[in-house]
């Protein structure tokens, strides 16, 4: 696509030159009299025309050839019980462009590294990868403010990262070591940090819990919203509808987001849901369908939601259309229920990182070299995190009896026999102490 870019620019350039030459042929300039002034006139015309041609892409010009911000069209939204869509344009600053690109690349590499670690048996049990869906967590977080919270299901590595967990802590949690987010006690599905309530293993359970966090936001009047994510598989869970009902009744500032990647484990959406219009499934709760492969569209949608929810209008149900490249989890090759061609097609035409890269290079927000530099840095960071995750040790066995309770009553915890009880200890700094 870069080649196309160059082709377009060359064509533009030759058009401008031709225009100037044509003008010169039409007696605007005398060929010999005042040759120097003619040349400078030609140059001025050339410059002016070029500027006019490039103007739509620039609001100001930086040295080095990149701009400080650019405006993009968002992907069309579909609305349910709403009159106004989110913004049809999105202004992306150069800093944001670099940030979003970096974040998505980190998540992509992190998930890829996790896949390898799982195959090496350094990660055990469950490992659900987010590759392909990066634009959602990056786009959502880009719009959130410090008082907002997120809760999601088990495909949570990308979320843990954007919500503030370091790459090292995520990878070490996957390998179950001391530097893990939860010191290795949680595993892939149970990563938490301030305002990020996991990481939940039971399909659908995180949705009413997320509505509850929104209730706390409203009760405490802290202006926050809670974003509760779930998949197309969870979208049929009864407790979701119980949550929608109460959120609507109580006008909770909750945004329920269905990350529709087309498959609930091995079951395609058509085989699981009588209605696959997940953004309408809230019925009396208004909804928006969003192209989840476009990070800026996601960001604008969440900005809209924050506005909506914080003005007391109640909850929203979003459906973000996305795709996962890996199987449901590392135990699933992901090819028994869909073709390799389908996966390849998405990779080649709809990959969120590729699409964003094209946007930001095309708009001269960044250069290809800068992005290459980021790629290398990301690779290095993730590789180092993998090294730590593999070599760090597990917590001491005695620590299995730590932090069962915040306020323990008994000092001992029974072991496998009555002869060697463990001592309960308190170790952590509680993130949501109240």
């Amino acid at each position: 696509l870069l080649r196309d870019e160059i082709k377009i620019k060359t064509e533009m350039l030759s058009k401008i030159v031709r225009a100037v030459v044509t003008q010169s042929q039409s007696n605007k300039y005398s060929a010999w009299s005042g040759a120097r002034s003619t040349a400078s006139l030609m140059w001025t015309d050339f410059w002016e025309l070029s500027m006019r041609a490039l103007a739509p892409f620039m609001t100001s010009v930086r040295r080095g050839g990149t701009v400080t911000e650019a405006t993009f069209q968002t992907q069309p939204y579909k609305l349910h019980r709403l009159d106004e869509p989110p913004s049809t344009t999105s202004i992306c600053s150069r800093d944001d462009a670099l940030l979003f690109y970096r974040q998505m690349q980190i998540i992509r590499r992190l998930e890829s590294a996790s896949s390898n670690l799982y195959k090496e048996k350094a990660i055990r049990g469950f490992c659900h990868l987010y590759s392909g869906q990066e634009a959602i967590c990056v786009g959502v977080k880009a719009a959130l403010r410090s008082q907002d919270s997120v809760i999601t299901a088990y495909r949570d590595h990308g979320w843990a990262y954007v919500m503030g967990c370091s790459i090292v802590s995520i990878m070490a949690e996957l390998t179950g070591r001391t530097q893990g987010v939860a010191r290795g006690k949680g595993g892939s599905m149970h990563m938490y940090t301030k305002n990020f309530y996991g990481g939940n293993g039971i399909v659908g359970a995180q949705v009413p819990v997320g509505a509850g966090v929104a209730l706390a936001n409203k009760y405490l009047e802290n202006g926050g919203i809670c974003v509760a994510l779930y998949g197309d598989g969870a979208a049929n869970q009864g407790q979701l509808y119980e949550a929608y009902n109460m959120a609507k009744l109580m006008s909770l500032p909750a945004v329920f987001i269905c990350e529709n990647n087309g498959y609930g484990m091995g079951t395609s959406v058509d085989r699981a849901s009588a209605s696959t219009n997940y953004y309408t499934r809230g019925d009396y709760v208004p909804g928006i369908w969003i192209d989840g492969m476009d990070v800026l569209s996601v960001r604008e949608a969440i900005r809209y939601c924050i506005d909506y929810c914080t003005s007391g209008k109640g909850p929203l149900v979003l459906e973000v259309a996305t795709y996962r490249y890996h199987g449901h989890s590392m135990s699933d090759p992901g090819t028994s229920y869909r073709t390799r061609d389908e996966i390849q097609e998405v990779r080649q035409t709809r990959d969120p990182i590729m699409l964003f890269k094209d946007h930001i290079i095309g708009a001269d927000l960044v250069t290809a070299d800068e992005l290459k530099k980021i790629d290398n840095e990301v690779r290095k960071e993730v590789d180092e995190a993998v090294k730590i995750a593999k070599t760090d040790k597990e917590i001491a066995v005695q620590e299995l009896a730590t932090d069962v309770y915040l306020n323990p009553v008994e000092t001992t915890i029974r072991g496998t026999t009555p002869f060697d009880p463990y001592t309960h200890r308190r170790l952590s700094k509680v993130a949501n102490l109240h």
Partner: protein, 359 residues
Amino acid sequence: MNHVRRVFYRERLSGVLSQSFSTSRAATASQLTVRDALNSALDEEMERDETVFLMGEEVAQYDGAYKISRGLWKKYGDKRVIDTPITESGFAGIAVGAAMGGLRPVCEFMTFNFSMQAIDHVVNSASKTFYMSAGLIHVPIVFRGPNGAAAGVGAQHSQCFASWYSQCPGLKVVSPYSSEDAKGLLKAAIRDPDPVVVLENELLYGTSFDVSDEVLSKDFVLPLGKAVVEREGQHITLVAHSRAVMLALEAATALAGEGVECEVINLRSLRPLDEETIVKSVIKTHNLVTVEQGWPQCGIGSEICARVVESPAYHYLESPVIRVTGVDVPMPYAKSLEIACIPQPHDVIKAVKKVLKIK
């Protein structure tokens, strides 16, 4: 006299009992029903801490299905006393999220039978989170409501969940008997930063108990994990929780008339279970009978027996430990069958006599 005693869920009898078995330490000042004890616990804690709120079916405008929350909605309003739709799974999850997000919810189940619809939230969302997050996220929530057999409500409304919940690490579980228990344990539960399950008993709600001034004070709190010896004795230990304590005390009174002195322990807490008090008592009396209304298999009595056998008290036992429990069937409706399915004083007396090898 006996047929009056059989009608044990009538307030007449509880009045008789409360005069005989005062559980407070200081000179008794007043009578308080369990209902009023719970109501004042809720009121006091809501007044003390603005983040405490109550949610459940009919708790607000109906004043509570069993009137436990009478007057609270009128006093505190919609924000702090919330009527929920009949959606246990949803509202229990919401309550857990509210607890994570900075509040201290009291989530009422109309009875714990309905908690089965929400048990995933009690166990997976609430009780395990502090551990799974290595102590990052705590869930200061109280799940409360009536537990176990009521009167004539049939099989689906009579199950005792003491075993199910007390098995789970990460939870604290209490099972109050008297008004003092009810008030002190509910207040302690609300103040506790961990998830607590409070298993009340519908038939005790209307029962009056003598309470001291201390119990009536706004800061009366009982420690979790501590049992109390309701009645001292030297021949045999009876251990019970909730309504079965009344049963054990009745049996103890009858047996006292025959010269058998029973030591009656009211567990108060099921998790943690006060093993120390039980072991100390058994070392003294050398005999143990557990009394509960729930089913026998994997019941509270099973746990107590196992713990005593594994403890130094085993060597002091003069007889095997016997459990008196509900009958191992779903609860029937017909009155005489229902009575037969719940342990009665004569069952406890029979067990004691067998253990002590007396006629």
